[in-house]
Symmetry: C2
């Protein structure tokens, strides 16, 4: 029988300094001693990525995307080599591979590339040598051919032509899940600075409960609505490839949370968790003429500037005019105002108002849309706490409200109590 293959991913806080890197190495060595073959994905050390971004910002406020990707990728090269050195020093054979060396190819979009495929030959060859393979996360090689290298020049897989691309924030999670899928790993473990996925942020809600298991779709909604433990695309990739993802602490030996096809999903309609997000600003165009094409004229230039629109609400018009509200990441507000202010007069709107002291609070649970009463209970709970709801949006498994930022903590605590999230579910208790 062949030994099990495990993919382990360690985030930036887990490898933030030499002590932590040595601790991670000991954890890897213990797992290896138990007989597993290991592929380990690492993020850059601590704040390295932010420091490199600051370095680029000191040079220019509009860094070339290709160069920025090469710059940022060095963070993961460094942490990968250091983890490998730490393993060598305790007698565990190991080798670090860059994303391109590990055979990870991407669609070539600088700064937010998507993984296009994985050629696992080098990884397999190193595993066959008995080595722990440390892969630099967050990066890969573009498969787009370089047009000016045609003819005389080497192919895209040749080292001369290999262009490095990064996967964007949280990309190392995606690297780990993609490797687990390609290698048909027995386990995919995401080590982080929390113990797993909670019913709400434990810093806000003292009796927030760690979930033993959560479905892919619920996890994606929580991640998208502000839960920062897991990257949305990594969860999606796990879902598509049916990879069971285990989120657990790199600092203590304790059971984590499994993200998987939820075995209990048919047995209940229930709120599973809360998410909140403070990186939100609300924008309203007041009294816009209620005509076809207005929305496009507002959102096209925002999209062209790379501003992500989240919730959009447009009320029924009165007297030929309507209010158009939407939310964007708070850090993009200044840029959005520069784009929208000239539009107010062009569109014949009355005015542009913005509010950067709002936040999103969401409840997430498979099937809650089908079970009447959850929306009413949510809005009632907020009303009882004297919290005004400014916007609402819903999906199949989620209800999101926009409220004043300074009421986030009250809202999350009241909702956590209302839905009794601190109480383990019957199905979980029975399974456990």
């Amino acid at each position: 029988m062949s030994s099990p293959l495990v993919v382990m991913k360690f985030g930036g806080s887990s490898v933030a300094n030499a002590d932590r890197i040595r601790r991670v190495a000991r954890r890897i060595a213990r797992e290896r001693a138990s007989g597993s073959q290991l592929v380990v994905v690492v993020s850059a050390m601590g704040d390295t990525t932010d420091e490199l971004l600051a370095l680029a910002a000191a040079i220019t406020d509009d860094p070339d995307p290709r160069e920025l990707d090469v710059l940022l990728a060095t963070g993961e090269h460094q942490s990968a080599t250091l983890v490998s050195m730490a393993l060598h020093s305790i007698g565990a054979p190991a080798i670090s591979l860059t994303g391109p060396q590990a055979g990870i190819t991407t669609d070539g979009t600088y700064g937010k590339a998507r993984i296009a495929g994985i050629d696992p030959r080098r990884v397999h060859a190193e595993l066959a040598q008995g080595k722990v393979v440390i892969v630099a996360g967050f990066q890969g090689r573009s498969v787009k051919p370089l047009e000016h290298l045609d003819g005389d020049a080497p192919g895209a897989s040749d080292v001369h032509a290999a262009e490095i691309t990064t996967l964007g924030r949280g990309g190392s999670d995606t690297t780990a899940v993609a490797l687990a899928a390609q290698l048909k790993a027995d386990r995919c473990q995401i080590f982080t600075d929390v113990k797993g996925i909670y019913t709400a942020d434990p810093r806000l809600v003292p009796d927030a409960r760690q979930l033993p298991v959560i479905g892919y779709e619920e996890m994606m909604e929580l991640a998208h609505q502000g839960a920062q433990v897991m990257n949305v695309r990594a969860v999606e990739l796990g879902w598509v490839n049916d990879v069971v993802i285990e989120v657990l602490s790199s600092f203590e030996d304790a059971p984590g949370t499994e993200i998987r096809e939820d075995p209990f999903v048919e047995q209940r309609n229930k709120v599973r968790g809360l998410a909140h997000d403070r990186n939100v600003a609300k924008v309203t165009l007041v009294a816009v003429p209620d005509q076809p094409g207005v929305a496009r004229r507002v959102f096209d230039p925002l999209a062209a500037s790379g501003i992500t629109i989240d919730m959009i609400v447009q009320n029924v018009g009165h007297g030929g005019a309507t209010d158009l509200s939407f939310t964007i990441p708070r850090v993009e507000l200044a840029k959005a105002k520069r784009i929208l202010e000239p539009l107010v007069r062009e569109l014949g709107a009355r005015e542009l108002t913005t509010d950067s002291s709002v936040a999103k609070v969401s409840i997430v649970g498979a099937g809650i849309q089908n079970a009447p009463g959850y929306a009413a209970r949510m809005f009632g709970t907020l009303a009882d706490a004297g919290i005004n709801i400014e916007m609402i949006s819903t999906s199949e498994i989620r209800i999101t409200t926009i409220i004043a930022e300074d009421r986030v903590e009250d809202a999350v605590r009241a909702l956590h109590a209302q839905f009794a999230l601190e109480v383990p579910e019957a199905a979980e208790a029975a399974a456990g």
Copy 2:
């Protein structure tokens, strides 16, 4: 007529921070505006290499050489991308290439690889696009095949199998000269934090004179004996390939020093420059039996530990015993003592003495060995200054003495005056 091709190399102090990187970019853009095609080689920013070494040392005192090379190579990746970004931001098209992307192959010796060849296709293709090509110095891709990747696996030039290797201290100079040779560049400029090559270190000798030109062989001796401006191997590579190397300041626009086949070499026998080196320790095995094989038993284990032996002096024996003295880099003294102490008794020597407060002072000039009187003048000058000579060694174009470290400054000044190095040579004056 095609535009001239210039290779420019900027050292770590020239790109130590964002301001200096922007200044370097402006210098490059000026050169480009004058119509040249440019290949720019950069070192890592400031103390980056030392910081990365310290990071590795915090993990383990014996870092794996392959992993250390990948780690150190990130320093040049970073500076190359930042210089490229700075050029973009002032409207000059540019692209950074890693050593492997630039087609630089090495013999695969980690930590001190030698350049094996350069495949210039990518560099040519980028130059043809009108771009300034920024090459990360100090590194290349090993051409050694990875044995365990045979069969199923890709070839060595495939990105999966490409192993990065570094060229050792000063390796970026070598990268620049090798590229200039391969590309048949019209000029090869090494920008540094001094104005050129001087007759002696200007920090020690106020009237040290900048040389307009110096021969390859003299420059190699000066570099080997402690002049830190240029890397010895880079000079050697320039000599073999007949590349004229220009050393000049990155901080001011002023003529530098050309390292080339010296046109004046047949016209004189003269001291051209002085070099000194404080990173020296002297080791003496006192009263070693004067038998065959003793030297090998001393030097074999030192070489195996990677300790570079510099000068070796053994006097005529008396009564069957002799004193064997040699110098090593001062930082290696502790390691050397651990190796040699057990040998003292095995060899039947009387004792081991060491002195880490010595230094080397050398005079260098083509042909001085053939012209009698230079040695006598050097020793006489030191004697007049009351400086004791502890060891002497000579080459065709050099005389080196070991003296007490606290007399280095006196020695260098006295010798500079004795040989009137502040006075331009007649041939130079005529040529100028």
